[in-house]
């Protein structure tokens, strides 16, 4: 049912430290913290000393990685209660940051998409941002009919949180929106649906 092989499907190449960066600005959600630990633990000590980590436990709650991140002794660690507050902090840092700052994003796909949008809005090149997908495969989708967003979708189809249409979750991804496309799956005979499968656990 899933329409695969679509080019817009994002690829996350993993968090790789830029040894030349003057500063590392790291936006991380949930299990993404593990990717940050993997990147910074083996790195020379001054890597963490140049790192600002914005962390929200969101997806990984109740597991909290704040303690583990603090043990890295980063230049600055800011725990934030929600993805939304983290994105606002990120915007704040990006407004004043200088060239030589490398941006990293780790967490679920929905989080990476939203943080990337903030980066793009600040004239940062998509390819210069280092990303790693950790945690749930859940998707953030946009209904193509009402344009509303539905978060944390793990099933192959799902009712739109806004207009209620049954949406097929496609691989078609919008960088600008940081979301996958959801298209009405039962337009011909409303209510006639294949069983929903959990495909993005």
């Amino acid at each position: 049912m899933l329409v695969s092989g679509i080019k817009s499907r994002p690829v996350y190449t993993g968090l790789i430290l830029d040894p030349h960066a003057e500063h590392h600005l790291i936006a991380v959600e949930g299990e993404g913290a593990l990717a940050v630990l993997d990147m910074l633990s083996p790195a020379p000590r001054d890597a963490a000393e140049k790192a600002t980590i914005l962390y929200t436990k969101a997806g990984s709650a109740p597991v909290d990685h704040e303690g583990a991140l603090a043990k890295l002794h980063p230049y600055r660690l800011q725990p934030l209660p929600t993805i939304q507050t983290l994105l606002i902090r990120l915007q704040g840092f990006l407004t004043t940051a200088k060239m030589g700052t490398r941006i990293y994003i780790a967490g679920t796909e929905g989080f990476i998409g939203q943080a990337m949008q903030v980066a793009l809005n600040n004239a940062i090149d998509f390819h210069s941002v280092r990303t790693e997908h950790r945690g749930s495969l859940a998707r953030r989708i946009q209904c193509v009919h009402c344009k509303g967003f539905t978060e944390n979708v793990t099933m192959s189809h799902v009712p739109c949180a806004h207009c209620g249409l049954n949406l097929l979750v496609r691989d078609h991804y919008s960088r600008r929106l940081g979301a996958f496309q959801g298209v009405c799956i039962d337009a011909e005979v409303p209510g006639e649906l294949p069983p929903a499968e959990e495909i993005f656990p």
């Binding site: 030349h20 960066a21 500063h23 200088k98 060239m99 600040n122 004239a123 940062i124 090149d125 210069s128």
Partner: protein
């Protein structure tokens, strides 16, 4: 498919409308379309390939467009007279007169301004100033912030330095080698807002220095842009067999493989003719010597693989090369 389409560009007959001596070794040429009307639209950073008949030889050299992107009544290029064996720039300087006809290709932009950038640092060395003139003008029109850093050898060499200074004031910084003035690159790289893009055009050594310093200062590759057209180096003659076209051509001492092939009536694709764009990449069937890669397009592994060659600038040391053409 027509020959012109194959080479990815169309040739436009132009008339030389004006020639201005800008500095000791630089002349500016203004080209108007012979057919009247206007020239094709271009964006800052674009270049054209100028074709000239020098004796029995046809030379084609790439030059950056430096005029305003809003004035399409003519194209303007600036040519540094370099005494190399190929003679393209000498021919333009010494033989071309107002009223003469030449042909130029449609513009190609391998050095475009990143439209979503927040700020732009333009760094030019010598004649590398030409694309920056168009960029400064375009950025001004778009109200995007920029600064221009222009280094040249001595007081006589700074083509357009005064004009630029007069037009853009404090945005223009001049550095004169003979007075030991240097671009304060490290300080410059340290103090730019996120989203800044850097453009450098000039001699190879300068480009490498700027790009390398940029990387070391933690600038992402995506924000560092450079352009450099190499003139094809000379070398011993050798023969080239075009396997598919069933032709054999001789590449002369001062000729590139591409030029020799064109002279035989085959038109391989090209865009920059300077080893930069990758368009002329050709597969090597066999070679009885060694490939001399002169481009800056192929990756090191590709060079060592001996299966690909950029025929606009590279040659062989040997006597016979067979190409998949």
């Amino acid at each position: 498919m027509s020959m012109n389409l194959m080479s990815g560009s169309t040739e436009i007959p132009v008339r030389v409308a004006d020639i201005v001596q800008v500095s000791e070794r630089v002349k500016r040429f203004r080209f108007e379309p012979v057919a009247g009307g206007s020239m094709p639209v271009f964006s800052a950073g674009a270049h054209v390939v100028v074709s000239m008949n020098i004796g029995s030889r046809r030379a084609r050299n790439p030059y950056s467009l430096m005029g305003s992107v809003t004035d399409l009544s003519a194209y303007e290029i600036s040519v540094l007279k370099t005494v190399d064996s190929r003679g393209g720039s000498v021919f333009l300087h010494d033989s071309v007169k107002i009223g003469d006809q030449l042909t130029v290709s449609t513009p190609v932009n391998l050095f475009p301004v990143e439209q979503r950038g927040r700020k732009f640092i333009l760094i030019a060395g010598g004649i590398g100033i030409t694309p920056m003139i168009a960029m400064a003008e375009q950025l001004t029109a778009q109200k995007l912030p920029f600064e221009l850093h222009y280094a040249y050898r001595n007081d006589q060499a700074g083509a357009y330095a005064d004009t630029l200074k007069a037009r853009y004031g404090h945005l223009v910084h001049l550095y004169i080698d003979s007075r030991d003035e240097r671009i304060p690159l490290d300080a410059l790289l340290k103090n730019q807002p996120l989203g800044t893009h850097l453009y450098v055009c000039g001699p190879g050594g300068m480009i490498n220095w700027v790009l390398e310093s940029g990387r070391k200062a933690g600038w992402p590759e995506e924000n560092l842009h450079s352009e450099r057209f190499l003139a094809p180096p000379s070398g011993k003659p050798f023969s080239v067999v075009l396997e598919r076209s069933k032709k054999t051509v001789t590449v002369g001492e001062h000729e590139s493989i591409l030029e020799a092939i064109e002279a035989s009536g085959v038109e391989p694709p090209y865009l920059c003719r300077g080893g930069a764009c990758g368009q002329c990449l050709t597969c090597v069937v066999s070679c009885d010597g060694t490939l001399e890669h002169n481009d800056h397009y192929l990756a090191p592994e590709e060079r060592d693989g001996n299966q690909k060659i950029m025929i606009c600038v590279s040659r062989i040391k040997g006597s016979n090369l067979v190409l998949d053409l």
